[in-house]
Subunit: 408 residues, 2 copies
């Protein structure tokens, strides 16, 4: 008799965004005249820059001809893209990452969800609260937790990110094996300073822990003093895996491309204490359960590094950051307490008195026809907060702010 993976049954009802989708659909069905403005899921809205789309089309055309046809892409990513990433994302900024340490994928969600597979089933996992749900749920599904009680799973080490610590997690009091960090942060918009990150690297080095560093939003960092990569910190190559994505920079949410860096010298250990290179384990995982990214998509990602592509991507990011600035100003004028939205595309606001997170979600949806994301969907410490995404057209942002300003 086939038995199911019962760890799945511990998961709380619905992944956050599908649940939002269901509530929005129900509202839209019942209120067909309402013009809903979506600031929830954090999906970009601007067209992909011309040089990038042209590269995708040109690569698609190559596939039409026997002479230029391309079959299986390598599971690690094609050399032209791995080399462009190493140079443009790292080496030109003086950061030591080689092309062969880069694994191209179809999304940071996939990578950050799959990475736990290469670690032991009894690993102790630390993650921030609030947190991007994938880090948590993928470990629940793998059996690294007990049941969920009051929004927290037994066995996980939660690192609260609150106003008190400026939404930057403190080091845990107990030993942990794997630590998920995300900076610029989803959902809070907080960005870790070089010093804060250095403290974590030191902690990981001291205890042979591994940091899983999600830098999917690094393109939004404009302050020179803030680190874009964990590998800017001395010693991080021996303790950190980094995830990056084209979704929020080049507008690839619907195109799908991302990458993961696994340095050559990074090791985990066997139970008996032998070091094992994580590069080889991740390579084996990808070689066995993944077949590479679509060729036209890899050419499109490559084109984001041409001078025209780079300039256009910077323009997209600047546009969304301007949205964030508008939102910060307008919401502050209404009396909201706001965090994030600087060096990050997400605003994290305190819900007004009398509303919990889902209550404020329903309130905004019903009365302003604006969709945000309830903070409690990201963890217990997110209760009383609400995420708004700056990924929208300017007129929609202005309209949403007008509506929110007009709420009783």
């Amino acid at each position: 008799m086939a038995h199911v993976n019962e760890h799945y049954l511990k998961l709380q009802a619905g992944y956050l965004f599908p649940e939002i989708g269901r509530r929005v659909s129900a509202f839209a069905d019942a209120n067909s005249a309402a013009k809903i403005i979506r600031m929830g899921i954090g999906d970009v809205v601007k067209g992909i820059p011309r040089p990038i789309v042209d590269a995708m089309k040109s690569a698609a055309e190559e596939l039409a001809h026997d002479e230029s046809f391309r079959g299986y892409p390598s599971e690690q990513g094609l050399d032209f893209l791995r080399e462009a990433i190493a140079k443009n994302e790292y080496q030109d900024a003086g950061v030591d990452v080689g092309a062969d340490e880069i694994f191209v994928s179809d999304g940071s969600k996939c990578d950050s969800g799959n990475i736990q597979e290469i670690f032991a089933a009894d690993s102790t996992i630390a993650l921030t609260d609030p947190v991007y749900p994938v880090y948590c749920d993928s470990n629940v599904m793998a059996g690294r937790t007990g049941a969920c009680r009051d929004g927290r799973y037994d066995g996980l080490v939660y690192l609260p990110c609150t106003e008190d610590n400026n939404f930057v997690p403190a080091l845990p009091e107990q030993d942990v094996d794997l630590i998920y960090l995300c900076s610029p942060n989803n959902p809070t918009g907080a960005v870790m300073s070089r010093d804060a990150l250095a403290e974590w690297v030191e902690y990981a080095r001291a205890g042979n822990a591994i940091i899983l560093f999600d830098a999917a939003y690094e393109g939004y960092i404009t302050d020179d003093g803030l680190p874009h990569s964990i590998y800017e910190i001395d010693g991080a190559r021996e303790v950190a895996i980094e995830f990056r994505s084209y979704s929020k920079s080049a507008g690839f949410t619907g195109t799908r491309c991302a990458f993961t860096v696994v340095p050559r010298e990074l090791t985990g250990h066997t139970a008996s204490g032998e070091p094992v290179a994580l590069h080889g384990l991740w390579n084996r995982r990808q070689s066995t359960k993944f077949n590479g990214v679509s060729y036209p998509v890899q050419r499109a990602a490559e084109a984001s590094y041409t001078p025209e592509g780079t300039a256009a991507v910077r323009g997209l990011i600047a546009f969304y950051l301007e949205n964030a600035a508008v939102m910060r100003e307008r919401l502050a004028a209404c009396g909201y307490t706001i965090f994030g939205g600087v060096n990050a595309p997400y605003l994290w606001l305190r819900t007004p008195a009398g509303f919990d997170s889902w209550g404020f979600f329903d309130h905004l949806l019903q009365n302003a026809h604006v969709v945000g994301t309830p903070g409690s969907g990201f963890g217990a410490a997110g209760e009383g907060f609400f995420r708004l995404s700056a990924f929208n057209q300017r007129d929609a942002v202005e309209e949403a702010m007008d509506r929110i300003s007009g709420l009783k």
Copy 2:
């Protein structure tokens, strides 16, 4: 201290195809004048049909404009493609599969590698020998086996496919929970008859087992009497998941698109015997660790169902089947004993006297500069056999056959 998933360390050196790649590279480096003909990995070589490429380019162009931009594709696949699949692959052939039972993905390798996640860690797994390595390796990595001894992992139930049973597996003698079947088969090219498949469905129904049915090569079936889908068998909806792919039909090995069917009524059970719908579990897996297939790729897949697309795909398949027929005839004339290559793109030949599988691999590479796949790479029962793929240009097929004919 971060500990690794030590189950990975049980895996035998290198996934098969990377190992072949290494040997071929080494040979090519040492013999730069040799014109190597690749009949190993089974990668297609013909350009993707015009209507399909045009759909991909047109969808890419949509992404360039704010008005037509598309963000996150749904994790299950976009409705237009799920509906086209349900109609064209199933309903038009009288097979009962609904659009909402289809999960679009970036490859059957991913799907057949990931599917085991939704089942219990102590599941008993049956797979054929020889077998597509992903079914085996993904279960090794998940800890469902013991060590590997003489090419077989402790704890797996191997179903030998030999000349004696015409390479169609017999039912196991013990109870098993999950059964991987692949028809048309990779690597043997054998195709299961309706009666053989019905026997398996009956076995699974009797024991509440689940069949994981890989139909990635179903497009190659030309005999009217052979089943294309396991759902042509009565009762299969309650015991089977089916995988299909565009890789070998529309030429999508480098484009990446596939799908998995999980019928609504299909259930696994908890340890205490409660039924759990597998549709919901797979949906949760995909929603958490996958973010959908690139929009232009989904439009390309959809275009394979237009009248022009369908005709062109049929033409591609017919071309490769003609290759297979040429290979069968030429190799038989040289005295080789050949299986497969009819209703399937793979030929499975007995290695000549004096050669084991890897020995014949090296022999062909060194002396004919032809790359095939050693049968033993697919399992212990594949020893003494060799896979040749029909995915090549006709002149390369002829040239390879000339060279093999000329071998001493």
